[in-house]
Symmetry: C2
Subunit: 117 residues, 2 copies
DNA sequence: ATGGCTGTATTATGGCACTGATGCACCTCG
DNA sequence: CGAGGTGCATCAGTGCCATAATACAGCCAT
């Protein structure tokens, strides 16, 4: 009934990007470790290798990942913390205000929902 | 750096839909009142009449507006409360879980940000 | 050196969502 | 009845997304 902003409707390469970013922040892909190859992750996720490459692209541009041609892509030192910092800033600046006003309109209080772990 | 989910990248007809829904909930479009015509709202918002019509479409399907062909569209009785209820439910079921885990990953606490009015 | 693994560039294609222009059917009011 | 206001259907254009099939360039262990 409400085609809003579920992650389902997002492009694949962006969902992959978010998923990888989460893995880096959480340490599932530790610093210095090699990321799954584009072909491997593509096979695992049932996606196209180029789509995975497009997701990886963003991290190289931001210098969070180091590419060794013919070898693989490695998580740079300090990538997790740097990534969390920028994501946090972006979230607070671009997403939270809308979410906040939206919840207020719907009569919801973030403080109450916070405890729902 | 982060092509995430800002309202800027959303389709126009969905932004309009949200805006109209907010107006109904807030009482800016009172129950029983006539909505702005597709052409009027289109001109005001600098959009195409069809795009506005597409935004209105959702509300007719949900029975929140009544259409009188050749006359206009009117807000149904109880539309505001019904709209708020379903929007709240949808938000809690589809959006909040992701937001919640995302904030947790970024080290943010909704309870602290709640006071930022 | 060779086979097998990396990432990457190229080109083409299909699908789908979004937007837009035009015209038609309907109603109300003078 | 006719003018001007409604919503709405149809058709077309555009751009992004995802996929595919190759091919190439680099590295490494056997």
């Amino acid at each position: 009934m409400n085609p809003n902003r579920p992650s389902s409707n997002r492009p694949v390469y962006l969902k992959l990007r978010d998923q990888i970013a989460a893995a880096i922040i959480d340490g599932a892909y530790p610093e210095g470790a090699m990321l799954p190859s584009v072909r491997a992750l593509a096979a695992e996720q049932g996606a196209n290798p180029l789509t995975v490459a497009k997701a990886y692209q963003q991290f190289q541009n931001d210098g969070l990942v180091e590419v060794q041609r013919g070898v693989g892509m490695y998580v740079v030192r300090g990538a997790a913390e740097r990534l969390r910092a920028t994501e946090r800033e972006t979230f607070l600046r671009e997403e939270w205000p809308e979410i906040r006003s939206r919840m207020q309109r719907l009569g919801l209080d973030p403080a109450n929902l916070a405890v729902v772990l």
